[in-house]
């Protein structure tokens, strides 16, 4: 007889159903796992043996063959312990096999028979709902699974014995409830930043339209401080975005306590980050920082200090909104629609362009430092601003009256205008001006006559690339949205062109 339990294998944030088949036949007692298991899956035999022993059971003294079908799909991770153990229990009659057919199971077993939390429970729960089955998962991951669907039957057990009793009907495991992480009070507020009104305005535009932003300025001018305050003016995640963000966090094992948060992710990797850390990869093709920042902000401080190849690997995700990782036996894609915020010094000594300061190495100092950034990457950044050093007078001023709450309200209003516009056009995936396809820009962001003249003149004078041209229009559209104007005017274009800067780096230097 063959006992079956369904589980999942992860490919990106997709959970592919995997059939665990267990056959127990006469023969020398051997416990064999086949179906391309990797080392962690092969080792599950020892954990299962110990967990069954802890539950007062022993493996039958017969040949046990476990097949993970489809057999040509590589199986990775520790979450196969529980489905294999359940299928064995069904095969030896310790659990009703027909009931288990209605569930998708995943979980890791400890030697004492308790079920340990695993990564990827949320995508598994979504897959289970799609298969019209219930979910058996670790107790610690239960609240995460509960988000998938209110009708999904979830059995989140602490141990094998508890699960066996639940299915026998002697003990009922209650359905877990979805938990949300409380909004973190005391996010850094924009009010803490004195002066820097231009930079604050740029931050507001970036937040409103989802535009990429580069801040260039001497050390101590508040670039990192400004970036850290961006989350406080971004609108909360919409339900669909929340699910996408949480699925990636779940695969990466970063959902603490199975609680979801509606704050936009803000990732700030150190500049020593490798390509695999940033775009994803490694042995299991895991999501990188750019995917973990999906629907949120990726902040790269000290931009030129990053390895140039690593930075250029961001070009494709910035354009397409997803990362495709191709490996010998995988082809995985993760969503990566991010807002890139970068900060850098104008040169190695950090003060090029500051009045009254001359680099010891002259112009070369700034030129060499800035040459580490590739043109194509810079071309993708809509807003490039200079953040000047803060003067002592600015610090003496009373704190600004306007804080994050007021800015956040304006940003939320502008985002609402955008969402309504793209919904009216029937564009499902587009939520911000920065995301809108080039074909649509001409239609949505058509400037008035005065604006068109200005743009034509600027395009020649500033030698704008085709992409830059469109990006200026997108930023102008965002500015018009902030003003709540239906058409893009000359004033909006002028500000957009100013915020882009001719070539911010040479200008800064």
């Amino acid at each position: 007889m063959v006992a079956r339990v369904t589980t999942v294998a992860f490919q990106g944030i997709e959970a592919v159903p995997v059939d665990v088949q267990v056959q127990i036949t006469a023969g020398n007692p051997v416990f064999a796992v086949v179906g391309l298991p990797d080392k962690t899956v092969g080792e599950s035999r020892e954990r299962i043996r110990a967990a069954l022993f802890a539950a007062g059971l022993a493996l039958p003294q017969r040949r046990i063959t476990v097949n993970l079908a489809p057999a040509d799909l590589p199986k990775e991770g520790s979450h196969y312990d529980l489905p294999i153990a359940l299928a064995i229990l069904a095969a030896i009659g310790a659990m009703p096999g027909d009931q288990l057919l209605d569930y998708v199971a995943l979980g890791e077993l400890s030697l004492d028979g308790t079920i340990a939390a695993v990564a990827g429970v949320l995508p598994a729960a979504v897959a289970a709902a799609a298969l019209d089955k219930g979910l058996i998962c670790p107790a610690d991951s239960g609240s995460e699974a509960a988000w998938a669907s209110p009708d999904l039957a979830i059995v989140a057990g602490r141990s094998l014995v508890q699960l066996a009793n639940h299915f026998k009907g002697t003990q009922v495991v209650a359905r877990p409830t979805p938990k949300i992480r409380e909004a973190v009070a005391g996010l850094p507020d924009l009010r803490d930043v004195k002066g820097q009104e231009t930079a604050k305005r740029a931050l507001e535009i970036a937040a409103a339209g989802g535009h990429h932003l580069l801040m260039v300025g001497p050390p101590g001018s508040g670039k990192s401080m400004l970036a850290a305050r961006l989350p406080s003016i971004l609108p909360p995640l919409e339900p669909r975005e929340l699910l996408e963000v949480s699925m990636i966090a779940s695969i990466a094992g970063e959902l603490a306590d199975g609680k979801l948060s509606d704050r936009r992710p803000f990732r700030s990797p150190h500049h020593s980050a490798s390509m695999a850390a940033l775009v994803g990869g490694g042995l299991r093709a895991r999501p990188g920082e750019v995917s973990l920042a999906h629907n949120g902000v990726l902040f790269l401080d000290e931009l030129p200090e990053f390895v140039p190849q690593v930075l250029d690997s961001l070009r494709q995700p910035l354009e397409s909104g997803e990362v495709v990782i191709a490996r010998a036996n995988h082809r995985v894609s993760y969503p990566a629609r991010i807002q890139l915020i970068a900060a850098m010094n104008p040169c190695r000594c950090g003060h090029a362009g500051t009045p009254g300061f001359v680099c010891r190495r002259g112009r070369r100092c700034a030129d060499e430092y800035q040459a580490r950034l590739s043109g194509p990457l810079l071309d993708r950044i809509d807003l490039r601003i200079e953040v000047a050093a803060v003067s002592a007078q600015d610090l003496i001023l009373p704190p600004p009256t306007e804080g994050s709450a007021e800015v956040a309200a304006r940003v939320a209003r502008a985002r609402l205008v955008q969402r309504r516009r793209f919904a009216a056009l029937g564009l499902d995936g587009v939520r911000t001006n920065a995301d809108m396809p080039a074909a649509l820009v001409e239609e949505v962001a058509r400037p008035d006559a005065a604006g068109a003249d200005l743009l034509a003149a600027a395009a020649t004078a500033m030698r704008l690339s085709a992409r830059a041209y469109h990006r200026v229009l997108k930023v102008a559209r965002t500015l018009a949205d902030l003003d709540d104007r239906p058409t893009v005017g000359r004033i909006h274009l002028a500000e957009a062109l100013g915020a882009r800067g001719a070539d911010p780096l040479s200008q800064a230097a």
């Binding site: 006469a26 023969g27 020398n28 007692p29 051997v30 416990f31 064999a32 035999r45 022993a58 493996l59 039958p60 003294q61 017969r62 040949r63």
Partner: protein
């Protein structure tokens, strides 16, 4: 392993036989029916083959001065030979083909009752990393 001359080997053989007799009686007292002693085939040897209910029990008997030394003497190589020989024996006795199979070790130590280790090893113990094998 040191070389042993003929008389020494004969003495060891007699010692082993006596140990198997002790082990067989110990098993009989635990409701095992002894089916065969000293089964030999090209694949390997089995000291005792017994049956208890629907379970066939293949027993390796080891006589040493201490239980630890006796257990150490059951090497990965000898376990593999016992597993292979068990397949041969069952193939020759199809009547028992559908039974469970258990592999036990009985340690015979001077001055005490034979120590019976039930379910001492299984087929998949063999693919442990090499260093863990004995």
């Amino acid at each position: 392993m040191t070389r042993r001359d003929a008389s020494e080997r004969r003495r060891a053989e007699a010692h082993g036989l006596a140990a198997e007799t002790w082990a067989a009686w110990a098993l009989r007292l635990k409701a095992h029916a002894i089916l065969e002693r000293r089964f030999r085939c090209p694949a390997g040897e089995i000291d005792l083959i017994a049956r208890r209910g629907r379970t066939l029990v293949f027993v390796e008997v080891k006589a040493r001065a201490t239980p630890e030394a006796a257990l150490d003497a059951v090497t990965a190589r000898s376990r593999a030979r016992i597993l292979a020989a068990a397949d041969v024996w069952v193939a020759r006795h199809p009547r028992w083909a559908d039974c469970d199979r258990r592999f036990d070790v009985v340690l015979v130590v001077p001055g005490r009752w034979p120590i019976h280790r039930r379910d001492a090893f299984r087929g998949d113990d063999l693919d442990l990393p090499f260093a863990a094998r004995r």
